[in-house]
Amino acid sequence: MDFIAILSIFVLACFVGYFVVWAVTPALHTPLMAVTNAISSVIIVGALIAAAAAGIGAGSGVAKALGLVAVVLASVNIFGGFAVTARMLAMYKKKERPVAPASSK
C-alpha cells in the first residue's frame, strides 16, 4: 500500500478512536486502559516477522533473537491484558432486582 493510502487509514482511525473513546463510560476507564494496552501489543506482528525472517547480512541473527524476545513481551501483554480486562469486566454487576415470587404449584 502506498503512503497516502496508509496515511488515510491512520487519519480516519484517529477520528474513529476519538468518537469511540468519548463514548466509553467513566466507570470503565480502567478496563479501557487495560484493553488498549492489550491491543497495542499487535506490535507482535512486527516481532513475528522479525523472528521468522531468513536474513541477509550479519545483523539477521540478532534481529531474529530480538524478534523472539519481542514476541515474549508482546504475548505477556496480549494474554495478560485481555485476561485482566475480562476479570475486571466480570465484576461489574447491577443492583439485584427483587426476585418475582414463584407461583405456587
Partner: protein
C-alpha cells in the same frame, strides 16, 4: 524498488482485525456490552497473529549439490521457537492477570506499557538490522565487499519515530511503575535546569531522525535510541506520585503512537488502526484527568507539583477548632439518615477498605437508607480506579455516580461519608483564589447536613499540600482512625 508483497487476503485479514479492535472499545460504552467487546478484541488479535504466522512461515535453504537451485523448506526449529516464545509470554501474562490485586492495577498497567514500549524498540532494532525481511530497503550489491541494505528514506523516519517513542514509553513507564508501586518515593525529583535539558534532548532526537534520512549510520540510530530512553526517564521523574493518572494515560497514548509508527514502517493496517485507537484513547483520558484537576497538561508534565509544600494561602499553624466523632456517632447518624453519599478516594484503596465499606452500605440499606457512591474523576491513581475497586467489592454499578451526576444531590443528603479522599472535597477550590487547587472541580460534600471524614490523624496534608477547610466546618465530624478499622467498627455499631 523491492516491496514486500503482501497478499490481498492478508491485508483484508488485518483490516478485519482492526475493525474487531474498534468494536472492542465500542463495547466499553456500558458494562452490559463490555464483555462481548472484550471477546471481539481477542478475536481481532487472533486474526492478526494467525495471519502473520501463516504469511511469514520461517523457511530455510537446504544445501543441495552445487549447480542445483536451492530448495526451501519449512524451518521447524524456528516455528518451535516462535510458539515457545508465545507460550512463555502467555503463561506469564495469564498468571499475572489471575493473581494481581485490583488495588495494584495502576502499577500493572504501567508495567504492561513498559513491555509494549520495549517490544516496539526491539522490533525497530530488528527492522534496522534486517530491513530486507521487512521490505523497507533496497539491496545494494557492490563490486567488492558484502551486499548491504539501504533503507528507504520514508521508512527511516518511521523507524526512527517508532524506536524513539517506544523507548520513551519504556523508560517512562518503568519510572511510573516504581512510583506507583512504592519502590520510589512519590515526591517529585527535580534536577536543576531540567526543562532546558529535556528540550535539548527532544531537539536532539528529532534532529537525529532527520539526519538519519540523509545518513544511514549506525551511530545515528543508536544515539536516537539511547537519548529516547534517557528522556523518558527524565520526563517522569519530576512528576509527583498522585499525578500518575495523567502520566499513565499519557504513556498509554505514547504506546499507541509507537505501534502506529511501526505500522507505517511495515505498511500494516492492523497496527496503524490500533495505534490510532490507543493513541487517541490515552490522549483523551489525559485530557479528562487534567480537566478534572483544572491544571493544564503542560503544567502536569513540567512536573514539580505535589512537593510537600511550604505555605499555601493561609498555611500558618493556627489551631482551628474541629469536631471529633466515634464509630458509634457515625453509625447513629447514618442509620437515621434518608440518604448517605459515600465519597471514596485513594486512601480507601491503600487501606483495602472497599469490602467492609460495601458491608456498611448493605447494613444501611437494610435499615432503609438510600446509599450512593460519588466518584471524582481523579480519585485514585488511575482513571476509573475507584469504580473497579467498588465493583470488586460487589457494589452494584448503578449505585455509583460520577461527579457531574451526583454533585447537585449533596444539598439534599443527610450524610456525606468521605473515606480516603481529600483534595477533591476541599471547598477552598471554589472560594480561595490563593489555593493551589483553586478552580479544580470538587465534590460539594460540605452542602450535606453532616459530613463524616475518615483520616488517620489531623496532621498531614493532602497531595496538593493544602489543609482541607472541610475539617473545620460546623457540620463536619472527623473520624480519626485507620479507614478499614473505622468502617469495621461502624459496621459493628450498626448491628
Amino acid at each position: 524498488m523491492h516491496e514486500l508483497t503482501v497478499s490481498p487476503w492478508a491485508s483484508l485479514a488485518y483490516l478485519v482485525a482492526g475493525v474487531c479492535f474498534i468494536l472492542a472499545l465500542r463495547g466499553l460504552s456500558s458494562p452490559a456490552s463490555s464483555q462481548r467487546g472484550n471477546r471481539f478484541g481477542i478475536i481481532g488479535m487472533t486474526i492478526a497473529v494467525v495471519t502473520t504466522l501463516v504469511t511469514h512461515v520461517p523457511l530455510r535453504s537446504v544445501a543441495v549439490p552445487p549447480g542445483n537451485p536451492h530448495d526451501l523448506m519449512i524451518d521447524w526449529v524456528t516455528v518451535g521457537e516462535i510458539l515457545a516464545a508465545i507460550g512463555v509470554g502467555a503463561a506469564i501474562g495469564l498468571v499475572t492477570a489471575r493473581r494481581i490485586a485490583m488495588t495494584a492495577m495502576p502499577q500493572l498497567v504501567a508495567a504492561f506499557h513498559s513491555l509494549v514500549g520495549l517490544a516496539a524498540v526491539l522490533v525497530g532494532v530488528a527492522a534496522y538490522l534486517n530491513p530486507q525481511a521487512f521490505g523497507i530497503s533496497d539491496l545494494v550489491v557492490p563490486m567488492i565487499g558484502q551486499p548491504f541494505a539501504v533503507i528507504h528514506p520514508v521508512s527511516r523516519i518511521e523507524l526512527g519515530l517508532g524506536v524513539a517513542i517506544g523507548a520513551i514509553t519504556f523508560s517512562g513507564s518503568v519510572i511510573a511503575f516504581l512510583k506507583l508501586n512504592g519502590n520510589m518515593g512519590g515526591k517529585p525529583i527535580m534536577l536543576p535546569g531540567r526543562h532546558v535539558i529535556n528540550l535539548a534532548l527532544l531537539a536532539g532526537i528529532l534532529g537525529l531522525i532527520a539526519y538519519f534520512v540523509t545518513e544511514q549510520a549506525p551511530w545515528v540510530f543508536w544515539t536516537i535510541a539511547i537519548l529516547s530512553f534517557v528522556i523518558g526517564f527524565l520526563l517522569i521523574v519530576p512528576i509527583g506520585g498522585a499525578d500518575m493518572p495523567v502520566v499513565v494515560s499519557m504513556l498509554n497514548s505514547y504506546s499507541g503512537w509507537a505501534a502506529a509508527a511501526m505500522g507505517f514502517t511495515l505498511h500494516n493496517s492492523a497496527m496503524i488502526i490500533t495505534g490510532a485507537l490507543v493513541g487517541s484513547s490515552g490522549a483523551i483520558l489525559s485530557y479528562i484527568m487534567c480537566r478534572a484537576m483544572n491544571r493544564s497538561f503542560i503544567s502536569v508534565i513540567a512536573g514539580g507539583f505535589g512537593a510537600v509544600a511550604d505555605t499555601s494561602g493561609g498555611g500558618t499553624a493556627i489551631d482551628r477548632p474541629w469536631k471529633r466523632g466515634s464509630a458509634e456517632d457515625a453509625a447513629f447518624l447514618m442509620s437515621q439518615a434518608e440518604q448517605v453519599i459515600i465519597v471514596p478516594g485513594y486512601g480507601m484503596a491503600v487501606a483495602q477498605a472497599q469490602h467492609v465499606l460495601r458491608e456498611m452500605g448493605d447494613k444501611l440499606k437494610a435499615e432503609g437508607v438510600r446509599v450512593k457512591y460519588a466518584i471524582h474523576p481523579v480519585a485514585g491513581r488511575m482513571p476509573g480506579h475507584m469504580n473497579v475497586l467498588l465493583a470488586e467489592a460487589n457494589v452494584p454499578y448503578d449505585d455509583v455516580f460520577e461527579l457531574e451526576d451526583i454533585n447537585s444531590e449533596f444539598a439534599q443528603t443527610d450524610v456525606a461519608f468521605v473515606i480516603g479522599a481529600n483534595d477533591v472535597t476541599n471547598p477552598a477550590a471554589k472560594t480561595d483564589k490563593t489555593s493551589p487547587i483553586y478552580g479544580m472541580p470538587v465534590l460539594d460534600v460540605e452542602k450535606a447536613k453532616t459530613v463524616l471524614f475518615i483520616k488517620r490523624s489531623m496532621g498531614g496534608v493532602g497531595y496538593a499540600g493544602v489543609d482541607n477547610d472541610l475539617f473545620y466546618r460546623d457540620n463536619t465530624m472527623m473520624l480519626l482512625a485507620d479507614a478499614k478499622k473505622m468502617v469495621e467498627d461502624i459496621v459493628k455499631a450498626l448491628d
